[in-house]
Structures are given as C-alpha cells and as structure tokens.
C-alpha cells in the first residue's frame, strides 16, 4: 500500500529525511512518532506529494509518486484522506459546505452530495451541527469535521499530521477512536504524532523517527521493504482507480 525506499529530503542542503525506508500494508494502522524536528511532517508531506523527495523511491497504492507529473497529483490525492493539526476548515462555510467541497472537487453529482455529507457526519457524530460554521465549534468538533471531510470520498489511505496537537485529552481520545473505527473498516491509517501516551494505549505498530531517520520501524526489516512493480501512471491491481472528474 505504502512503500518507501531510501527516501531522502533536503531543505537548503540540510537533510530533513535520511534514507527512510519502510512498508505499510493495506489495512494497517501505523503511528509515526518522534520528537519535534524528527521529520514526521516532512514524511507525510512527501507521501501526499506536497513536497518532492530528493532521493529514493515512494510507491503509494502501486503508483511511483517520485516521478508523478504535477497534473496527476490531484487524482492521487483523491484516494488519500489527510487530516491536519490546524483542521484547515473554511470559516465562512458551514460544516456541510466544507465537506461538500471535497465531494464537488471529484465531480460527485449534486443530488448525491447532501446524503453523503449527512452519512459521513453521522459517522463522526457531528450530524446535528452540520449547519454551523467552524468558529462555532470546539477544537475537537472541528477536528471531527476535518476527519469527516477526509473520509467522505472513501479514501484507501488516511494520513494525519499531529491530529490531536491542538486538542484536550478527551477530544484527542475521541479522534483516535474514530481513526480506529475507520481502520477496522479497511482503511490504511498513518498517523504522525508525539502523543506517546495515546500511542502506547492504542497498541498498534509504531515507527520511531529521530533526526530525519527511522530508528525503529515497528518490527519490519528497515532497509529492505519489498517493492511492488512500478507503474507511474496506473494504480496497481486491486487498487481503486483515481477519480478523473471534473
């Protein structure tokens, strides 16, 4: 599902990632932990094609993202849900409209949108607040809406960068519980966090990073992930093809 082989990234000559290699299987739930500056966010940005790796090979759902053309990136992103620490909700739009935007982007017929928005909000327990705008919600509620938005297109992979960084412990627990439920339904989840307490309680695979390197990849051989055959344009067998509209 996700394969990295000797991925290196420099910022102005300073390495942010150094030969990072690991594999995440389909349906796995993995935490990436480490102190600030360990390279967790850079790693997630590279997986999401928001940053370009300088060296190495990255395969997401059978697609070699290292060589991906700029015009193809949006189609890859439609199969990946991303949850941000700062939620990234549009303050002037209601909860429903924020989620509907993700559906509009992929060309969902207008008649389906309302129903799908309601369903996903129900999944995260926010259906009663769908007419409110984000500033009227608590941090935990806003993050639940952000999770709903990440899930509404039913992605195969969910990436989350410090999703509980701005939340109180109870809200953080609720968000992690959501991730667990999503993972139970088959979505591969990769969460970057330094919330050690929660990570330990969840009892999932943990990849530990420090100084841009993977110092513990949670039980897998660090340097030799098995790479699937590369096909830069198409998804591998068994993966859902990227939606091409609009």
């Amino acid at each position: 599902m996700i394969q990295l082989y000797r991925v290196t990234k420099y910022y102005e000559g300073v390495p942010a990632l150094r030969e990072v290699s690991f594999t995440v299987d389909k349906g796995e739930f993995v935490f990436v932990t480490g102190p600030s500056g360990a390279g967790k966010s850079t790693l997630l940005k590279i997986l999401f094609c928001a940053e370009h790796a300088d060296e190495g090979r990255i395969v997401m759902q059978g697609i070699n993202t290292f060589r991906l053309k700029a015009a193809t990136i949006p189609y890859l992103r439609r199969n990946i849900g991303f949850v941000f620490q700062d939620y990234k909700l549009l303050p002037h739009k209601t909860v429903s409209e924020n989620i509907a935007l993700a559906l509009k982007v992929v060309g969902t017929p207008a008649g389906e949108i309302e129903q799908r928005v309601y369903q996903v909000l129900k999944k995260v327990g926010m259906e009663t607040k769908r007419h409110l705008t984000p500033p009227k919600l608590s941090g935990g509620e806003q993050q639940k809406v952000a999770v709903a938005r990440a899930l509404v297109n039913e992605p195969q992979v969910l990436l989350a960068d410090e999703p509980t960084g701005n939340l109180d412990p109870q809200s953080a627990q609720e968000v992690f519980r959501l991730f667990k439920d999503i993972n139970m339904k088959g979505t591969t989840v990769l969460v970057a966090t330094h919330d050690w307490e929660t990570v330990r309680k969840m009892q999932r695979r943990i990849i530990t990073m420090e100084g841009g390197k993977v110092i513990d990849n949670g039980g897998q051989s660090p340097q030799k992930p098995t790479l699937a055959p590369l096909n830069p344009q198409a998804g591998a067998a068994g993966t859902k093809p990227a939606k091409k509209e609009p």
Binding site: F48, A50, A71, P74, Y75, L76, R77, R78, F82, K88, L90, L101, A102, K104, V105, V106, G107, T108, P109, A110, R149, N153, E245, P246
Partner: protein, 295 residues
Amino acid sequence: MKGYGLFYYIAEAFRGLRSNSLVNILAVGTISMAMLIVGFFLIVFLNLQTAVNALGDRLEMSVYLKDGLTEHEKDFIQHRIRMEPGVKKVGYLSRVEALQLFKKELKGQEALIQGLAENPLPDSYEVTIDRQYADAERLEAMAGKISQYRGVEEVSYGKEGARVLSGFYKVVAYGGMALAILLGVTVVFIISNSVRLALYSRGQEIELLQWIGATRGFIQGPFLIEGMMLAMLGSALAVGVLAGVFYAIPREVFLFLSRPNGLDFLPISVVTCMIIGGGLLGLAGGLVSVSKFLE
C-alpha cells in the same frame, strides 16, 4: 463533465464577485476608463475611415484616347480597362460631351474657348476605382499599364490625392492597431491585478482545494469567469457612458465636419465586439494571475 461544469464556475464567480465587492467595483471602474478611451478612439477611427472611404469613392482615372479610333477599337479598349483589377465602373465621355462639360464648368468665362476653330478635347473613358485599390502605388501601376494600350493617348488621375489618401489609410490603420494593442495590454494588466487581489483574499481556500485533490481547471475556472465578467461589465459601462455623452451633445456641434449626419456612433457590431473582446481580455488577465498564483 459530471456535475461541476460551467454553471458551478459561474455560481462561484458570482460568489467571488460579491465577497470582494470593493475591489471589484474599483476594477470595473478602471476597466471602464480604459474601454472609454478605446471607445472614443473607435468613434474617431470609424468616422475617419468613413470619410476616407467617401474620398476613395470619388477617385477617378481619365483615359484619353487618340483621334481617329474606330468604334470597334474603342470598345476593345473599354473591355480591356474593365478587365483590370480594381476597376469598378468605366464610362465613355465623347469629345463633344467633354466640351459641353468644360463649357459648363467655365460658366461666365466662355469667351476663353470661343476662338477655337475645332474641339481640342479627346474622347475619353472615365474610370471609377474600387476604394480598396485607392493606393498610390497600385494606381500608378494601373495608369502605367493602361497608357501602354494601343490607341490610348494619355492617362491622368489625381496622383497627389491618391498619395495623400493612401497615407491617410495607413496612419489610421496602423495608429488604430497600435492603440488597440496598447489599451488591450492595459485591460489585461488591470484585470490580472484585480483577480490577483481576489486570489490572495481566497488563498486559504485555494490551498485547501489543492490538498483535497482539485484539478487546476477546477480551481481556476471561477477566477477566469470572474475576470471575464468584470471586463464585460466594465466594457458595457464604458459603452453606456460613451453613448450617453455622445447623444447628449447637440448635433450642431458636429456641423463643422461638413458631413450630412455629423458623426456616427459605434455600430452595434462594434459595441458587441468591444464587450466580447473586453471579456476575452478579462479571461486573459485572469489566466495570467491564476497561473502565477498556482505556480
């Protein structure tokens, strides 16, 4: 397109226009000013062109024939002149008719020709030239060619007039083109700046759209339509102001132009072109800004 085509972009463009109303009012105002100048020069240019065309319509060439030609020879010459490109009409003027005409023109001074024993004027063909051929070089070439015909004595035409006329044409055409390009670039610049302001104010939204998998077309569509609508609105406003001012000025003011109707306002086809052309320039301005922003 499955659900979010042109209508979605138009709806989003209207939302954008509403949310940045102050910036957009300023943009429409500035575009109107530029288009007002375009419109003003178009009125001048088109009226000048009409005047020049009217002069061109009056451009004639006289082909004087040698004495003693048979009717058959004259017909043959007339036929050959007619075949020349740019010849609109060929009229025969016999020497008798020419003398009568001359006498008419000399009204009051007939004594000048009373002493003549015989009619000194030759038979001639009066050739009307198509105004598209009213070019000094072309006319000179045509006159040179006709003067070589067997039986033709001399060819005369308003050489100086033709030279001035073709010079006029060039000034009007090139000057108009240069002005149109200059003002076109100005409109693109104005639009690209106002669209850029709108882009910055919605930067957060655009970034999010990129994160959730929106294509470049999906992001830029509303902004392009917004730019187009701003420019069309500005152009329409300019035409409205121009028409208002034009028709408010009393007709007598234009009498010095010695044209029966004075000045003409822009024809509807030109007005349509101004508004659609303005829209296309707006589209170009939007494209410039969005491309820069997304890069």
